[in-house]
């Protein structure tokens, strides 16, 4: 396991990552994704993941991916920070919110707008009625990431 405690805390604190994949012709793709993190692997999915470019890229045999989780600590002075993971994606069948501790959701629990605690109970967080995003986590074929290396980085522009 390659994540430090600080990195794990950061992974839990952010609601979205951006994942890059590559098509067979060398064209990259990058999209925002919600994710779950179980301490070792990250899972991404979507409403209909099999139709997405990232899924098709991985299914075509281009398993190398990069993910960046970042935020802007301050715009003035310009202080971005990020954690980047290079890794290998594997298509697995996994239902979201499977109840493992330490997972991170893509949106706060119902009523939690404006704050973003580390979501420890994704099933509860995603089962609120009337929330259109709930379905996004009923993953039919999300990707799994085995981190190869990662590092936090901060700086002032």
């Amino acid at each position: 396991m390659s994540f430090t405690d600080e990195e794990v805390a950061y992974l839990h604190s952010q609601r979205l990552g951006r994942i890059a994949t590559v098509a067979s012709d060398g064209q990259p793709d990058v999209v925002p994704v919600g994710y779950e993190f179980d301490g070792t692997y990250r899972y991404v999915g979507g409403l209909d993941p099999a139709k997405t470019r990232k899924f098709r890229n991985v299914r075509a045999g281009n398993a190398k991916v990069a993910v960046v989780i970042d935020d802007l600590v301050s715009a003035d002075p310009w202080t971005p920070r990020y954690l980047r993971i290079y890794g290998t994606a594997e298509l697995v069948d996994r239902r979201a919110g499977s109840g493992r501790p330490g997972t991170c959701g893509s949106r706060p629990p119902s009523g939690g707008a404006g704050t973003w605690p580390g979501v420890r109970s994704p099933t509860t967080a995603r089962s609120a009625p009337g929330e259109p995003r709930t379905k996004l986590w009923l993953n039919k074929a999300p990707s799994r990431f085995a981190p190869r290396r990662s590092y936090p980085h901060g700086g002032v522009r």
Partner: protein
Amino acid sequence: MSVFTDQERRYLLSGVALGRLATVGADGTPHVVPTSYRYNQRHDTIDIGGHDFATRKKYRDVLRNSKVAFVIDDLASMNPWRARGIEIRGEAEVLDSGGTELGPGFAPQMLRITPKRIVSWGLEEQLSFNARSVR
């Protein structure tokens, strides 16, 4: 005539601070990095520069493989959940000057991305989606 819709142009100019640029390394591994950007209305391109730009991996990657993807996205609202954004896939051109205009202390080198495929979502209403090839 812009390849972007009016809504997309408004979004590109709305001041979302960060985008994420994906490039491809020598061994085919993708790379992705948060970066500032500027929508260049005259050229209808996305311009990206930075400090010590010529030393950056994104710059070196483009020298080998000019195909890139760039995404800008944010949450218009968290309750109700409303995500929006635009992804631009295209060709990045390496320029040796002009970068200094993109930010204080920036290097002269810069990247200029010409869109080939545009995907945008949530810019008009919650479930709007617009994907098309433009070149």
